[in-house]
């Protein structure tokens, strides 16, 4: 039965991926992209990577797609259609895609995959322990780096959102200090 579910998911993935790049309406292509991402989550569920599937749904479907929809709603009116590219550009992009696909397929077929025999489900606990382990094979360094990056982007967002207010208060502070000095 798993095989049929995989085929259904694969058809869904391919059809919606093609529709996402060929649709002329912007929000429709976003929704096709959403279907693609959900299909990938479905494949993760199929191979019992439940945690990764839920991450895929939360981060990509729930977070990124919602943000893309937001930006589309802000900049794009419903009656506008995207313009079609010139034939020369189409050909160029098509050739580039074919080349990429060729490299990709050649790599996959050249690689000798091994079938895992005694398969056991990864639990969230194992992922968490691995993420915070500082022994060999642990992921503490990337984890910390990402934390710092996220913190920096959060502070950046606050500074951008409050930009004028921050500058004004600094100016008034400076002025008051100057007045005091005088």
């Amino acid at each position: 039965m798993e095989r049929y579910i995989f085929y259904i998911l694969a058809v869904l993935l391919i059809v919606s991926a093609i529709a996402a790049v060929s649709s002329k309406k912007m929000l429709r292509s976003v929704i096709y992209l959403l279907f693609t991402l959900c299909g990938i989550a479905g494949i993760y569920f199929l191979i019992d990577y439940n945690f990764l599937a839920a991450i895929q749904l939360t981060v990509y479907a729930g977070g990124i797609i919602v943000l893309i929809i937001f930006s589309v709603i802000l900049v794009h009116h419903i009656e506008m259609e995207l313009e079609v590219a010139k034939l020369s550009k189409k050909l160029l992009v098509g050739a580039a895609c074919a080349l990429g696909l060729g490299v990709f397929l050649a790599t996959i077929y050249a690689h000798d995959f091994k079938v895992v025999e005694n398969f056991n489900t990864t639990t969230t606990e194992q992922i968490g322990l691995k993420l915070l382990s500082y022994e060999a094979g642990g992921f503490i360094l990337p984890f910390e780096l990402i934390s710092v990056l996220l913190l920096a982007s959060m502070i950046g967002a606050i500074v951008i959102a409050k930009g004028k207010k921050l500058v004004k208060s600094e100016k008034s502070n400076v002025e008051s200090i100057q007045k005091n000095n005088n």
Partner: protein
Amino acid sequence: MKIALNITKTIQDLLLGFMPEGTASILAMVIIALIYLAIFSVAGLMLVLVERKVAAWFQLRIGPNRVGPWGLLQTMADALKLVSKELTGTVKADMFLYNLAPYFVIVSSLMALAVFPFTQEFQAFDINIGIFFLIAISSIGVIGILLGGYASNNKFALIGAMRSGVQTISYELSVGLSLLTMILITGSLQLSEIVEVQKNGWLIVQGHIPAVIAFMIYMIAGTAETNRAPFDMVEAESELGAGFHTEYSGMKFAYFFLAEFINMFIIAAVAATVFFGGWLSPFGITDSIPWLGVFWFLGKTFALVFLMMWFRWTFPRLRVDQLLTLEWKYLLPLNLLNIVLMALIVWLGLTIQL
């Protein structure tokens, strides 16, 4: 008295008697899905009726009392009327997305129902990331609302959808973090194990002070995530007409309406499972009769649903900026502090074990 509550196993065994294994498992899935669909569409309609009765009670009215005994069939009649109504739509709407939107909302809320343990055995899908799965699914529902608002090609619908998006994205954080606070005690995301841990006392007792804070934050954020008053900026009748579903009629409108009530049930059911012990009876008084678990689970859930209805008919509506201030400046920092507090309590072993 023995009732076969382990539905997935019972149905599968029954079907295995007269058909091959592959077909039986597919058919069992379809049958269970249909059972859940039937139960929860009726339960959703009943919740609408309860809401109207509670509203009437709070406003010293009688409420629906004409159709059936005590007006019990009122919402059924409403649903039949909605099924028979014409599906209207605007000419310049994006019909594909316009028709897709209600299904997004209703499917995402029905998917979440699969993981709840109604009793020890009555659970369709005991996934090992239960709570996280629920959070992941609930974050998809908002896409339906955004699509409905955009595709209607209507200003009010668009404003309603934008408000809904902002609100759901922000309050999702609080829902997730407050549930995470409780997961520090249980040490597992699986819903059946979370209930198992609570045999030594419900989590709201085990975790005492931080658990109560987490519960309050969860109820506030949960009410906001279902877009109900006092956070119903999405529909705000006096400002936006009907908000994102202004242009919907008939059954498509009914899907949005039903999804709102099923979402309310889901929020209450998660709270009942995580904070109040799910199907466990208080002090283990009915431990010898397992099927009474359904009664306790539904009792706790409906008590919390009543709490949410109480909010709705008591508090006035917030403004958008107040709504966002509440989340980002008060609930979120409080929640982060609460997680640290809970971690300290679990680390020092200060939880109350009955």
